[in-house]
């Protein structure tokens, strides 16, 4: 029973990790750049949802849509203005562009919002659904549900729309895509916007059971990267499975190990995958 509850909890929270990680992997897939600042967009999404709640009375689940839209637009600007410029630059430039971006975003948020923790009070914050012996917290369930819908929509977009297919083509072979007449730059711009937008949405939906602060991003970095690396950088389905796996590993490991070490387990998984199978556990699609 314990195991089942841990499994369910892990999947619920893993769903959110999945949505957060999809963004990261999408960006890498299309641009071969690891966006070290990805978690900061999560933080932005959280704050946007918070302010929607505070000033507009919007529940964070709806705030998530606003967060997505705003961060999508912002992401496109960032890609056009900064990321695109280092597309052909050496690794060090690409790495430190996004590291610099991380620093700028976090400290700008610190200056703008102060370092207070902001938490929302939603009517369902202590509700839960009982399924026999299983207890499912409503905020977790809602976050999972919204993440699921967002994930499915993205998958559908990538699978069935022209733009989505163009994106997949670009991630497989950018030169071929270019020669086929696709506006690869535009595709990259949209992909980045989509990627950070998804992560922002993920940040918004966890607001009911989390607190927002400018430094919150750092807590998700490990999780995001482990999820993405597990599933294979660039593999969107992989990120979903990776996210779910990370959630489950996190909760299941606490059954046998001290909770303090839950991240240690993830780190070790992370390093092992990088060392032994950098292309991820899933076969590349």
């Amino acid at each position: 029973m314990e195991i089942l509850q841990a499994l369910v909890n892990g999947l619920l929270i893993g769903g959110v990790y999945a949505v957060i990680s999809i963004g990261l992997t999408l960006v890498f897939g299309v641009m071969s750049i690891i966006n070290f600042a990805q978690a900061e967009f999560l933080m932005l999404g959280m704050f946007i949802a918070f302010f929607c709640w505070q000033y507009l009375g919007l529940d964070p689940m709806f705030g998530a849509l606003v967060a997505f839209a705003v961060v999508f637009a912002f992401g496109m600007l960032v890609q056009r203005g900064l990321i695109e410029r280092v597309m052909k630059a050496p690794d060090v430039a690409q790495i430190f562009l996004t590291v610099g971006l991380l620093i700028v975003l976090e400290n700008a948020a610190l200056l703008a919002f102060g370092s207070d923790f902001r938490s929302v009070q939603v009517p369902y914050q202590t509700s839960a659904i009982r399924l026999g012996e299983l207890i499912i917290g409503v905020p977790y369930l809602l976050a999972f549900a919204v993440s699921l819908v967002a994930g499915i929509l993205l998958w559908a977009f990538l699978r069935f729309t022209w733009l989505g297919q163009a994106m997949r083509a670009t991630s497989q072979d950018a030169n071929a895509a270019l020669s086929l007449g696709m506006d690869v730059r535009r595709i990259r711009q949209i992909a980045f916007g989509l990627g950070v937008g998804m992560t922002a949405l993920g940040g918004a939906v966890i607001l009911p059971y989390f607190t927002a602060s400018p430094t919150i991003g750092g807590q998700f970095v490990v999780l995001m990267f482990t999820a993405v690396v597990l599933g294979g950088l660039g593999n969107v389905l992989g990120a979903v499975i990776g996210g779910l796996a990370v959630g489950v590993i996190q909760t299941m490991s606490t059954l046998v190990l001290p909770i303090q070490l839950q991240n240690l387990v993830l780190f070790i998984v992370f390093i092992l995958v990088l060392a032994l199978r950098p292309e991820g556990l899933l076969r590349q699609k």
Binding site: E2, Q5, A6, N9, I13, L110, G114, S115, D116, F117, S119, Q121, Q125, T126, S127, A128, I135, G137, V138, P139, Y140, Y209, F210, T211, S213, T215, I216, G218, Q219, F220, L223, G247, Q250, T251, T254, L255, P258, I259, Q260, Q262, N263
Partner: protein
Amino acid sequence: MSSDRKCISSRPVDSTRRGLVAAAGVATVAAGFPAIVRAQPKEVNVGVIMPLSGANAQFGINSRNGIELVADEINEAGGIQGLGGAKIKLIVADGTSTPTTAANVAQRMISQNQVTAILGAFASSLTIAISEVTERRGIPLLTMSFADQITGRGFKNIFQVVSKASTIGAAQFNDALAIAKAAGETVTKAAIMYEDTAYGTAQAKGLREAAKAAGVEVVMDDAYPLGITDVTPLITKLRNSGAQMVFPVSYLNDSLLIIRTMRQQQIDIPAIGGAAGYVIPDFVKGLGEFANDVLSVSPANYDRVPELTDRFEKRYGYFMVHEALEHAVCMGVLAEAMDICKSADPAKVRDTLAKERFEKGWSTAMTGAVKFDETGLNTLAKPVMVQWQEGRLRTVWPKDLATAPARWKGKTISL
């Protein structure tokens, strides 16, 4: 004049001697003047180093507010009498969240601002880093940080106004046990969960040892990483452990998470928090009515001396949180020390702090008086048990310090 010639010949000697006497006179006055000036300074510089940015900013700001309140009151009442009415000048600086920066700031204050003493820095790691500087420069450091290490190094310039972390942890446990007993419940199983920071770990140690001494079985004893993203494993483990009460030690983020998840999972065993996140206005703002009846230990509470602490609420708009109160006591004690020894010289102030008993004004705000032992610990400090009741934080235990009856599982225990 016939005497002129004599005068002419003797004038140089006379003028030289006169000059010498005059010079000697000026020199004496000049030598004495600084002494007079030093003994009656117009202003006394007091350093305040707090985390005004980063994760602890809120607590740092609260602390600074507490100090400012006291300093302003003293200045408005005419300054420090023993120093001829010298005004307190606060030199406030941001210790950030990095000990390296905090130590630099301390050094800067000592070299550039000639501070008599430093108050700070809320977070134990900052305080310890600062104390390494102040100890070597002979500047007294007054603090309410309570990691056991602070008073455990044989330092002569550190003065801690609250009990040690292990003492607070022990009080957290024993007082809870006492309240349970008064409500007619025998507790045999307890759970401890704490964030793996200096604060959490130190206090958990005190809890653990108190449990052992009381013969209560600790069925769950788990540290969790600061910034944990998902507490459901913790709470699940709690439920499965069969504990009758739980002692969480955490900051705001986690405290909200823990209480909410407990309620979600319909775990209604009493939670006795370890101060920090459990005793700030944001806790009740974040949980609303779910904050009611949550107990917590606190190094001190504001409702014992409303005549003093109401002034804080009036000025800043929220109740005087314990870190503000304790820093206010630090300021009060420092001012009283300077008043007693009639000097702003750090060494003299240090000796006074070590020797005297402080029982005037804000020095009384915690337990009535303050007295430091040779390790720098305030022997008169006593942690109290507080409880949220209708949005206010009331002191409920021990009975001689309580201002409201304790509630345990819906039962009110009369005072």
